[in-house]
Amino acid sequence: MKWAVSVRSGSVIVHFEAIADQVDPNIVAESVRAVRDGLDLIEKKPQRPRYWSDAALKRAKELAEALDSKAGTLQHVSISADSTQKVITRRTSANVDSLIGIELRALGSIEGRLRTVSEGGGLHFVVEDAITHNQVRCYIKEQDTETILAAFRKRVVVYGEILYRRDRQPASITVDRFRVLREEKELPSAADVRGILA
């Protein structure tokens, strides 16, 4: 799916058109509905809209915060889709904070496949939670860089101090130690362990 974005000179109205590109047109319609209904829901209450990732929530917050821009020219932000208009206010920003703001920290561990390694915003790598698919940032020490790079794309368990969001999902962890999990082919099958405790 692609988005065609257009804006008229001198206008503050931006037009987005969803274009089916090698996807079912129904998915395009569903995506537009997900944006429209999601903005409506997050404006009303701190509840994650269906299909919305953390990144989508943060973008909605940025949209609401355009109202606080120092330029001070925006008085009103709204989204129109399928002949309905949804007004976005500072409540959206507050509701996103309620949903994904950091609430507490505690020791624990996170399991997932080690994907991105980055220096931006502090040396870290990212693991993807197997159930929620949320990306958890894992902050590491400089001296562990080589070990981490050697574990790239492998499944790992990392232990350390976790920051939890208000929705109880882990947002990041300061890595104290970590362990690389074995690959599937090295693990015993269900049949292999049947009766092991007999």
Binding site: G108, I110, I131, Y164, E184, S189
Partner: protein, 118 residues
């Protein structure tokens, strides 16, 4: 792509691993589907402990314990290992200010792992 999930507590694993005649056949279909990538089995870290340290039984030989630990490392078995403390705070079963009993802690972790899996 969303994958179907089943929550298993230690009872299910303790049906399969000792090959209990009344339980193991009921577990087989789920395990085969999981191995085929059709679903995930979600459990808590406590389950692994309960399976390896069987109450009232001698400690398992190291090789068997390692084999069971390895089995739990499959990517189709999702072990929730999140920190217990904040989860307890989040859990309505445990009142703040009261030190939870070991049983309450175990129950709370099971509840949280099961809740996360939905």
């Amino acid at each position: 792509m969303s994958v179907d999930r089943r929550y298993w507590d230690s009872d299910a694993f303790l049906g399969w691993l000792p090959n209990e005649q009344d339980k193991a056949p009921k577990c087989e279909g789920v395990l085969k589907a999981a191995e085929a990538g059709q679903l995930q089995i979600v459990t808590s870290a406590l389950t692994l402990t309960e399976v390896i340290r069987l109450k009232g039984k001698p400690r398992l030989p190291r090789t068997e314990e390692d084999r069971i630990r390895a089995f739990f490392e499959h990517d189709w078995i999702v072990v929730r290992r999140d920190a217990l403390k904040p989860r307890l705070r989040a859990n309505p079963l445990i009142r703040l200010g009261n030190k939870p009993s070991a049983h309450q802690q175990m129950d709370a972790e099971e509840v949280v792992a099961a809740r996360d899996f939905r």
